[in-house]
Amino acid sequence: MTDFYPAEERQHMESRQKSYMSGKNPGFYFAAILIGLWVLCWIVFMGFFRKDVWAGVPAVTWSMIAFGIVAIIISIIAIPVFKKFEKQ
């Protein structure tokens, strides 16, 4: 990869980057958690427990329903977290 930026500008831009496009931004870390959980559910339950059935419903379907509920709860929790972050 070619370094297109002069060193001084690069340092300045990297310091700015940390504040809004990094793990400190609630949107970023909540999204990372959700995507990670979603991928994990598919890999574990579709990959390894595809034939498991609980109460007539496949384990992978249960996992996705549980994931959906968790995702909605996280979205509610995130609303005040965003507010606090943006006030800072």
Binding site: F4, Y20, W38, G56, A71, I72, A78, I79
Partner: protein, 497 residues
């Protein structure tokens, strides 16, 4: 007329749609901000319900319900329902607030405007062409769905039914703009949620509760709750990825976020939409598709699952509301797409290539003409009834997701992404989707598993091999993340941006 009560309620519904448009006629004619952006006056509750209504088309109301009946509730609930809910929540986390700020800072109302400011003009034009190419097909599918519903329920000739839908739809979109569309969607969202979830709960009650009803349903279709042996696991994953990515990045949904009061309102509305979508698919589909398996276990035309269930369980008044709900499903999604087509065409084709100095009224007039042309063409095409609803809806959904998801998310979160990368992301995603769909035999709905990663690769490789974006682009990016203050641009000035 053999169903006077249902028909009267249906006529009342159409009158309400037109009444709402007339109410907002004066406000919508003030200028671009009023027509395309509803004067940024919409609150989180109205916006959340309207976003729900925009997503739930006849594809969800009739098509996917039929798929639940035939291929199982797990496919539509876990793959589509959960995927779409996740898409709205990721929209809230990754792009909703930033895009809302973008629209206000630059005075723009089309998503491709963001691509022009973040990447370059070719990327924006490519995005507009994808919208102009795919959305009209979706409108045709919705009009066909509405025509089939009216034909089945009232015996109205199919062509007349499509014509009625097209005329009412064109009327309220052209007259009242986004204000009319949002408040119509608000009403339609309640109707759709009430019909599907209400009918689902009624069905569970009518057949003795969850356990007894599901036992009877499984006698008709042993795979109603399980994974279907003829459906590839990649179909489940691909549908979930495609649906979620579509919701995260489709211009007609992103445009809705431009109408709300601020970024926090946008996030609240997206969270509410995710909740409504989740309940609609989990509870509504379980009850309605399960009941249809008991009532009509050998149904051939699976798009009629809702009709047979409501015919058996709903009294006449509720049936009338259900018909209005089906019409709402066709109208709300199409109205949102028509507005996106008008805004994209006027801002990215007309202003950019034909009349860069056009004032707001000229640009608005051209946007309305574009909408009118699409309504007329879609209505005429719908009357011919040569296309399959499910195929068109699935193609549009996956094509949009493949073209826009990666450029939008990467453009917002990776400073190094540049114009070349953005263009390769949009064009690469769209072309690879077409190539995979038409030239390769992949499992149903699995195209997105190839085309979305290709779109990501296009942006990353294209950006790393060419010069980085200018410092003012980075400043612009910081501003839309709320990190930095920059001067706002009024809609009229946005022409020069």
């Amino acid at each position: 007329m053999n169903k006077p009560i249902e028909f009267s309620i249906f006529v009342l519904y159409l009158a309400a749609c037109i009444g709402i448009a007339l109410y907002f006629l004066k406000k919508a004619s003030k200028g671009e901000s009023a027509f395309w952006g509803a004067e940024r006056s919409i609150g989180s509750f109205v916006s959340g319900v309207a976003l729900f209504a925009t997503l739930i088309s006849t594809g969800s109301f009739l098509g996917f319900l039929g798929i639940a009946y035939r291929l199982g509730w797990s496919l539509t609930t876990m793959a589509f329902g959960t995927g779409v809910s996740l898409g709205f929540i990721l929209n809230m986390m990754l792009s909703g607030g930033a895009m809302r700020r973008y629209s206000e800072l630059r005075g723009k109302f089309a998503m491709s405007g963001f691509f022009a400011d973040r990447y370059n003009v070719p990327t924006a034009v490519a995005a507009t062409l994808v919208v102009l190419l795919l959305y009209p097909f979706y409108a045709v599918a919705e009009l066909i769905g509405a025509g089939l519903a009216l034909q089945y329920l009232f015996g109205i000739p199919f062509t007349v039914a499509v014509l009625i839908t097209g005329v009412v739809l064109g009327f309220y979109v052209l007259l009242g703009g986004m204000l009319s569309v949002t408040w119509n969607d608000f009403m339609q969202g309640f109707l759709k949620f009430g019909v599907m979830v209400g009918l689902g709960i009624l069905a569970l009650y009518a057949f003795g509760g969850v356990g007894p009803m599901l036992n009877k349903a499984r006698m008709a279709n042993p795979f109603f709750l399980t994974l279907h042996p003829k459906v590839s696991p990649w179909t489940y994953i691909g549908l979930s990825l495609g649906a979620g990515s579509f919701v995260l990045s489709s211009p007609h949904l992103v445009m809705r976020l431009f109408t709300v009061k601020d970024a926090a309102t946008a996030r609240k509305s997206l969270s509410l939409t995710a909740f409504l979508i989740f309940v609609f698919h989990v509870l509504g589909y379980l009850g309605v598709a399960g009941a249809a398996l008991i009532i009509a276990p050998k149904l051939v035309k699976i798009d009629q699952v809702l009709f047979v269930t409501m015919d058996a369980l709903f009294p006449a008044v509720l049936k009338g509301l259900a018909v209005a709900g089906i019409m709402a499903a066709a109208m709300s999604t199409t109205s949102g797409m028509l507005l996106a087509i008008g805004a994209e065409f006027s801002s990215n084709i007309y202003k950019r290539f034909f009349r860069p100095n056009a004032n707001q009224h000229q640009s608005l007039r051209v946007g309305k003409i574009a909408i009118l042309v699409v309504v007329v063409v879609a209505t005429l095409a719908g009357m011919v009834q040569t296309l399959s609803i499910g195929v068109i809806v699935a193609l549009t959904l996956e094509g949009i997701a493949s073209s826009f998801m990666a450029p939008l998310v990467v453009g917002l979160w990776w400073r190094r992404a540049n114009g070349v990368g953005g263009f390769l992301g949009v064009a690469g995603g769209f072309v690879s989707f077409l190539v995979v769909h038409f030239l390769f035999k992949v499992p149903l709905f699995a195209e997105a598993l190839f085309s979305i990663p290709i779109s990501f690769l296009g942006i990353i490789i294209g950006s790393l091999l060419t010069a980085p974006p200018k410092p003012e682009t980075i400043e612009f990016l910081e501003a839309i993340h709320g990190q930095k203050q920059i001067a706002r641009q009024a809609p009229a000035q946005a022409v020069e941006a």
